[in-house]
């Protein structure tokens, strides 16, 4: 589609890009360790337990930011995919692909944390509330994106990501509506979300740690996917 010389010009940059990513990784990793330490100390030791949920409220500092990151990363990958579709640049597709696995990791963390949070509260291992249903569907969207990601068909992956990202608000609304429809009266007073009990500072610290982790892993995966000369030299 584009002329060979234009393509080559685009590829003159990847080796330098790879070198840049390689240099940034230790900094991102260090940032992650610092943020994680702060978040763990605060969420586990400093923040007070909730008067209703008890110590279990600490788990919200995991499940809420993880869910936010899972959604944000999927949207990021979808945007990168859309950019790749309009400009036909393999680098942008590579960036999108590199973001998918860490995003799926966040979705896993969110589900696991949500289950373990609910256990003391519901006395059951699983309850199809709005959050659980949404997270399971998000996991399926990541799984669906993971399958063509191996195939190397970037254009269809980008279309899939776009469809999934566009579906996300509908999924949130639909799961919330569905749960509200079936909620027996009087279980939760209106306007009182269990998630509201989470300590805001704990949420922010953990979110920062997650973002730093994502940056580190994304840089590593992106850098590993970039073309290099022989012997890995940039």
């Amino acid at each position: 589609m584009t002329s060979p010389s234009a393509r080559l010009a685009g590829f003159a940059r990847p080796p330098r890009l790879a070198a840049l990513c390689d240099r940034l990784v230790p900094w991102a990793g260090g940032l992650f360790v610092l943020c994680l330490a702060a978040a763990l100390v605060y969420a586990l030791a400093v923040a007070p337990p909730d008067y209703r949920q008890g110590e279990a409220v600490r788990i919200l500092a995991l499940s809420l930011p993880a869910a936010w990151m899972a959604v944000a990363v999927y949207v990021l990958a979808a945007l990168l995919g859309a950019a790749g579709l309009t400009r036909d640049r393999p680098l942008v597709f590579a960036a999108a692909r590199a973001a998918l696995a860490p995003g799926a990791a966040f979705a896993l963390i969110a589900v696991a944390a949500h289950v373990l949070w609910g256990r003391p509260a519901w006395n059951a291992w699983w309850e199809w509330d709005g959050r659980s249903a949404f997270l399971v569907l998000l996991l399926l969207l990541y799984l669906g994106a993971g399958l063509p990601a191996r195939d190397g068909d970037s254009r269809r992956l980008a279309l899939l990501l776009a469809a999934g990202a566009l579906a996300l608000p509908f999924l949130r609304i639909a799961t919330d509506w569905w749960v509200a429809l079936h909620r027996p009266e009087g279980v939760l007073p209106l306007g009182d979300e269990p998630g509201d009990a989470a300590d805001p500072l704990a949420l922010i610290l953990m979110l920062g740690a997650f973002k730093a982790w994502f940056l580190t892993v994304w840089l590593m995966r992106f850098s590993a996917a970039l073309p290099r000369g022989p012997e890995g030299s940039p």
Partner: protein, 221 residues
């Protein structure tokens, strides 16, 4: 326009010759198995019936997914259709309409039988049929999109994984409409949402699926 109608007729003929009633058969089979597996006792069944009917409707589309574009892609007619003067989105739209006529419409028309068999009260029936008519249209469009995205080797697994998240809103509002009707409440709101989802899919799916088909065919060549 004429080309689109011709494509629809062609698909329906192929479907009738090659077992196009499979989705309907799967739908009926699932809804037969469900009460058998659950055992006697009608009351709990009625509670689950709307969800079961919608789940069966979605599952019925899964079997039709793989064949939607695969045969045409294999013998080259898909490439010819996309290269024709008509916009590629029209091809996708025609395929979706054919799928709806072969699967969604029969399912919606048969659903009253299923509803009665599962113990749903009669006031639910209009809500069920109408919501299924609207909902299966959206599911047909989404099926076309998923089939286009999953075309190729190993696509069936991808299709099965993708359909649920994309079709979940349709399922939620469709089953919700039946649920509200069963409680004697107004089911106009979810029905309106289904109509809106139909419009959104009709606008968004054809171009996206056409692009996916092009990408898939480009890779094969």
């Amino acid at each position: 326009m004429k080309a689109a109608l011709a494509l629809i007729r062609r698909d329906l003929l192929i479907a009738r010759r090659g077992g196009g009633l499979l989705p309907l058969a799967v739908f009926a089979a699932l809804l037969l198995v469900f009460p058998l597996a659950a055992g006697p006792g009608a009351a709990p069944l009625g509670r689950l019936a709307p969800g079961a009917i919608w789940a069966a409707a979605l599952a019925a589309h899964l079997v039709a997914l793989d064949a939607l574009f695969a045969a045409d892609a294999r013998d080259g007619s898909l490439a010819a259709m996309l290269a024709a003067k008509a916009p590629a989105g029209a091809v996708v739209l025609a395929k979706a309409v054919a799928l709806w006529l072969a699967a969604g419409l029969p399912i919606a028309l048969v659903s009253p039988l299923a509803a009665v068999a599962l113990g749903l009260p009669v006031p639910v029936l209009p809500a069920l049929v109408l919501s299924l008519l609207f909902g299966t249209a959206a599911i047909a469009l989404l099926s076309a999109l998923v089939a286009a995205l999953a075309l190729g080797r190993g696509g069936a697994a991808l299709a099965a994984v993708l359909v649920l998240p994309l079709a979940a809103p349709v399922l939620a509002f469709g089953a919700g409409a039946a649920e509200l009707a069963a409680r004697g409440q107004s089911w106009a709101a979810p029905l309106a949402v289904l109509a809106a989802l139909d419009a959104a899919c009709a606008l968004g799916v054809p171009p996206a699926a056409a692009a996916a088909l092009r990408a898939a065919l480009d890779r094969r060549s």
